[in-house]
């Protein structure tokens, strides 16, 4: 009988791919918020039980709970198993507050399921857009996680 396991990390665990003066980060108790312009990747390293009861865990869903502001939007999501890219979701344009519950904008189904080997990272690309008067585009990551299936 199949078993489902879930593994999640709080948004405070997210790291930007590039660090520099052009990105400001503020950590809140409900997640980490970033403000900048242009496009940036953000990475979640999700603790991954690759073997469960001596059986290979398979990735079936990925989740990123977030809230955007001032024009920022998620455009791409990639999932890595160690150094290998195993799933890609492009052409996205996700905005709004999706930080408190699961919905179609923060959940991705991995079809077919993919056996995990070396540990999982969820990578989110955010297009913050161009400078605009009065505010700086922002995103807050509340949480990220995956559902894993074992036979």
């Amino acid at each position: 009988m199949s078993k489902i396991q879930a593994s999640w990390v709080h948004g405070a665990a997210v790291v930007p791919e590039r660090e520099g003066y052009f990105v400001t980060r503020r950590n809140y108790r409900n997640g980490s918020a970033f403000k900048t312009h242009g496009k940036e990747w953000f990475l979640f390293a999700v603790p991954t039980p690759v073997l469960v009861d001596s059986k290979r865990a398979k990735l079936i869903k990925a989740f990123v709970l977030f809230e955007t502001g001032s024009g920022a939007r998620i455009t791409d999501l990639e999932v890595f198993d160690g150094g290998k890219k195993i799933a890609t979701f492009g052409g996205l344009s996700l905005t709004g507050n999706h930080s408190t519950s699961l919905d179609q904008s923060n959940s991705w189904i991995i079809e077919p399921p993919i056996s995990m080997t070396f540990g999982l990272a969820i990578c989110v690309r955010v297009d913050f857009g161009n400078p605009q008067v009065g505010s700086v585009p922002a995103i807050r990551f509340a949480s990220a996680g995956v559902d894993l299936l074992t036979d």
């Binding site: 660090e19 520099g20 003066y21 052009f22 400001t24 980060r25 503020r26 403000k35 900048t36 312009h37 242009g38 161009n130 400078p131 605009q132 008067v133 009065g134 505010s135 700086v136």
Partner: protein, 405 residues
């Protein structure tokens, strides 16, 4: 009208600059020619790209070639991305002054192990691959000011090579230089005529122009008055607050054209960074020290003016073996500097950005006034409330503190 002739004609090339001038003369033939920009409409009757230049530099003894290029670069940065911090001269001057650390091997090894080739001039290769840091927040000490202290201190080749990469690094441990890079080699105008200069200016390209013994930044023109506007690097007491003019006729003089060379540069558009713009009026800006900090931060406040590199590379310091105050007698200051990284944008009541202003009265005792203190990140601009009713006066031998929240 003020003529360049009366201002610069008798001037000779500074001894420190002589090898640079010779080198740049030779390099001119290796640089690609600038093609005339396509014009879809007639050039405007009057153009002033100098409005985008806030910081009027004072070169002191030498280095006009670098100051002129950075004026052009500052303007292009400001046009592409308002509130971009003003650029630092430290790498440029290091590479030119300490030719011994790169000339024999045709390049330099940076701290992260890259060999940066200087086949076509040190500044061009370096500024394309490594980039250029900004003014006022670089590391303090020899590592960030090698062109000052190291010009006469023999620390050996290892120390000198190690100083090359550190010019891009700041005290916070991040390298900001890659943010500010040239997109390619400078392009040289095949013929320097008033017509070609107007076309390039109208296309949004200020230019570095050379008269035989000096470099300037050409920033505008007036078709009715038949004049070009340039910005010099002699502070704001020279010319009209730093800006001078030259006539079309002088530029097109077939026997003695004023400009022997004009260069166009292309930049990699910088990204917005949190920055502060500060403007004060004074009788001598070197009286005034400025510090930026974040209230409550355990990190010491950082002096942003005079910046660390503003210590003389003039002959006196080279002979004496220690730094001297920069010979900058400009009156006013208007410049943009990156915010301390410990400030998490935006500033607020519990996250106040602090500007300390101290007038030492060392050169004049007139005091001055703070006209602007603004923080910006992209299009988000926050002003200092204390200046809402107008400039804030400060006397000599006084200390004042201003907040943005």
């Amino acid at each position: 009208m003020e003529h360049i002739e009366t201002t610069f004609e008798e001037r000779s090339v500074h001894p420190l600059d002589e090898p640079v001038f010779e080198r740049m003369e030779a390099l001119a033939y290796q640089l690609p020619p600038a093609t005339s920009p396509p014009m879809h409409r007639a050039p405007p009757a009057k153009l002033d790209l100098g409005q985008h230049l806030h910081f009027i530099r004072h070169q002191g003894g030498a280095g006009c070639f670098a100051y002129a290029l950075l004026a052009v670069w500052d303007i292009m940065n400001e046009m592409a991305c308002p509130y971009t911090p003003n650029l630092s001269l430290a790498p440029y001057m290091l590479l030119h002054r300490r030719r011994d650390i790169w000339e024999s091997r045709g390049g330099a090894v940076t701290r992260d192990g890259r060999f940066v080739s200087f086949k076509v001039g040190p500044e061009y290769g370096f500024f394309q691959e490594v980039g250029n840091p900004t003014l006022g927040t670089e590391m303090v000490g020899y590592s960030a000011n090698p062109w000052c202290g190291l010009t006469n201190l023999n620390l050996g080749p290892v120390a000198l090579e190690g100083s090359v990469p550190t010019v891009g690094w700041t005290v916070e441990g991040l390298n900001e230089a890659p943010m500010y890079r040239l997109a390619g080699l400078p392009k040289v105008l095949p013929r320097v005529t008033s017509e070609s200069l107007i076309l390039h200016l109208a296309a949004g390209h200020p230019m570095r122009v050379q008269i035989p013994s000096h470099f300037l930044a050409l920033v505008g023109y007036d078709l009715a008055a038949k004049t070009f506007t340039y910005v010099d690097s002699a502070g704001d007491r020279k010319h009209n607050a730093g800006f001078g003019t030259v006539t079309f006729a002088e530029v097109d003089d077939p026997k003695r054209p004023y400009f022997s060379k004009a260069e166009v540069i292309d930049i990699v558009s910088p990204r917005p960074v949190p920055a502060a713009r500060i403007r004060f009026s004074h009788s001598n800006r070197m009286n005034v020290g400025l510090w930026l900090s974040v209230e409550g931060s355990p990190i010491p406040r950082r002096q942003i003016w005079p910046p660390p590199q503003y210590h003389d590379d003039g002959l006196e310091s080279r002979f004496l073996g220690h730094w001297m105050p920069w010979d900058d007698n400009s009156r006013n200051l208007h410049f943009t500097v990156r915010l301390p990284t410990e400030l998490i944008w935006p500033p607020g009541p519990n996250n106040r950005l602090v500007l300390d202003v101290h007038d030492s009265g060392a050169y004049t005792t007139t005091g001055g006034q703070l006209d602007e203190f603004t923080a910006a990140f992209g299009g988000h601009v926050v002003k200092c409330d204390a200046l809402n009713e107008g400039p804030a006066q400060f006397g000599s031998h006084s200390h004042h503190r201003f907040f943005i929240e």
